[in-house]
Amino acid sequence: MDWFPLYNSLRIALIATFFTFFLGIAAAYYAAKLPRAVKGVLDVFFTLPLVLPPTVVGFFLLKLMGPKGLVGRWVLSVWSVRLTMTWYASVFAVIVVTFPLMYRTVRGAFEAFDPDLIHAGRTLGRSNTWIFWRVLLPGCRQGLMAGTVLAFARGLGEYGATSMVSGYTPGRTATISTTVYQLWRENNDGLAYRWVAVNLAISFAVLLAINLLEKRAGAGPARGEAALR
């Protein structure tokens, strides 16, 4: 069994989640400061990839990054690099698709955060940067972790946009989900079942991780007290 699809899926999901993590936090933080009307419009725009069919997202990305697209043509002419039908094209697709999950989860955590803690920091003379890193982010770490795990899980299973921008080339762009589809088309049920099993194992591990995180969150104070003794 060739393990390339597993390796490729993992690297795409990990790299994309890394970028989604920071982009989602930044978007949630700055969107909260905008006037209400602008925030509403921006919120719709940021959440759109969540409700759009992934194939539509893939279509837009192809139009943008393809060799004839605005960005794709420029990158091709300057660096002679093709953006589509490569494994890293999937990274862009997965960032776009997972961004709303991170953005919305973090925004919810920011909105639930006690504003008095931020006010307190400011009246004590602390900079907004200090408050963001030392008070706001630690206070929202449950939301940050939940958003990250959700984004990673979604990214790992991404099929629609990935298959459009990266296609299916064994050993180059194949991911677990595109491989399962390809094996089914080839009537190779035996191998398809193996990849399905791998996929199930990963999903199981991710869900288990989420549950463990939630349990630890619930036991927070007790843990602190134990550490003190």
Binding site: H119, A120, R122, T123, L124, G125, R134, V135, G224, L228
Partner: protein
């Protein structure tokens, strides 16, 4: 040391108009919930920007709508004690206090934190987390953190609202001690007349967003000028009223006329009588009111008697009297009762 506040702010149907000036004293900001007390404090601290007006602390302009001055909270040097203290939950007590320190050199930081821990009776608690402390201890940490930031004014937002009542008196004593040492102007927000009388030298009543002129605390209790001030000062018996010539007032809700032994101002709209100034009397005595007993509520050391007046037995027509158990004992069981009030104890009130 002075704090000058003259601001207005509209928020939906609510309109805040607060104006007062205070020296290095503890000034109470007294009002019912939703009257804009906390909003006023937040404007002073810079968390909310007023629409118009001027805020000045010790000659430093913190806010001026006309000159477009609006200092960020960081540069106002105003200490704010939050209702729930707003301690950073992920910081230890010592780290919370250090977060307030303005000077950055490490060696003196530890010394200063230790000094504040001792000053606020928090020795040995530096490594604990806020959630491991009692309400009173949390409040002391919050105060230590504020003092670390060397504020020029203190704003206290209902400092006892998050405490159990049996803990309150002890925390009150500790806060009094601390406020004795603080030189700058202090604004104490509360809806409790007791806290005002315990802590404050002067008081400003805030009624539905409008502030009334600041007055000494005893003036509020001896002779409140307005209906809202009278109710906030704890007076339970009020009646609509109009001048009835000379020193007489006609009490419309109570259906009687009382002598107040002084000239009745023309703008009079209400009168008030504190529950403990009503005394049992004989029929026909001056300023005696014929009453019918509606209900007796037993307190631990006293009896609260609800009475119907000639004006009726509903709403403001009723009178509420509080008598010691001993004074009530001989009267218990009676249906009708005469109550008397000394002319000087009739509070003359205006609308507002």
């Amino acid at each position: 040391m002075s704090l000058i506040v003259d601001i207005s702010k509209k928020l939906g149907p609510f309109h805040l108009q607060a104006s007062f000036e205070t020296e290095g004293e503890v000034m109470g900001l007294l009002g019912a919930s939703g009257c804009g007390k906390s909003m006023t404090l937040k404007c002073i601290a810079g968390m909310i920007s007023p629409d118009a007006g001027h805020i000045e602390l010790d000659g430093r302009v913190l806010f001026d709508a006309g000159k477009r001055i609006n200092l960020p909270p960081q540069r106002r040097r105003v200490g704010y004690l939050f209702q729930h203290y707003a301690l950073f939950p992920n910081f230890t007590v010592a780290q919370n206090i250090a977060a307030g320190l303005r000077r950055r050199d490490r060696s003196s930081r530890k010394a200063q934190v230790d000094r504040l821990l001792r000053a606020l009776y928090l020795d040995g608690m530096g490594d604990k987390y806020p959630r491991q402390l009692s309400g009173g201890q949390q409040q002391r940490v919050a105060l230590a953190r504020i003092l670390a930031s060397e504020p020029e004014a203190l704003l206290l937002d209902e400092p006892f609202s998050a405490l159990d009542s049996y803990l309150k008196w002890q925390v009150e004593l500790e806060l009094m001690e601390l406020l004795d040492h603080f030189q700058g102007p202090t604004v104490f927000v509360t809806h409790s007349r007791d806290e005002v009388s315990h802590f404050c030298a002067s008081v400003c009543v805030l009624d539905q967003g409008r502030s009334q002129p600041k007055e000494p605390v005893n003036a509020l209790f001896d002779a409140p000028a307005t209906l809202s001030a009278c109710l906030l000062s704890g007076c339970k018996n009020v009646s609509r009223a109009r001048p009835a010539g000379g020193t007489l007032v006609e009490c419309l809700d109570w259906g009687i006329t009382l002598d107040c032994a002084r000239a009745v101002p023309g703008g009079l709209t209400h009168v008030g009588i504190r529950a403990h100034f009503l005394r049992p009397a004989a029929e026909g005595e001056s300023n005696a009111i014929p009453c019918r007993v509606l209900r007796v509520i037993d307190n631990v050391f006293s009896a609260v008697v609800m009475l119907a007046t000639p004006g009726g037995e509903r709403g403001f027509s009723r009178l509420r009297v509080e008598l010691d158990k001993d004074a009530w004992a001989p009267l218990a069981g009676r249906d009708a009762l005469w109550l008397q009030v000394a002319p000087k104890d009739v509070l003359l009130l205006q609308d507002g």
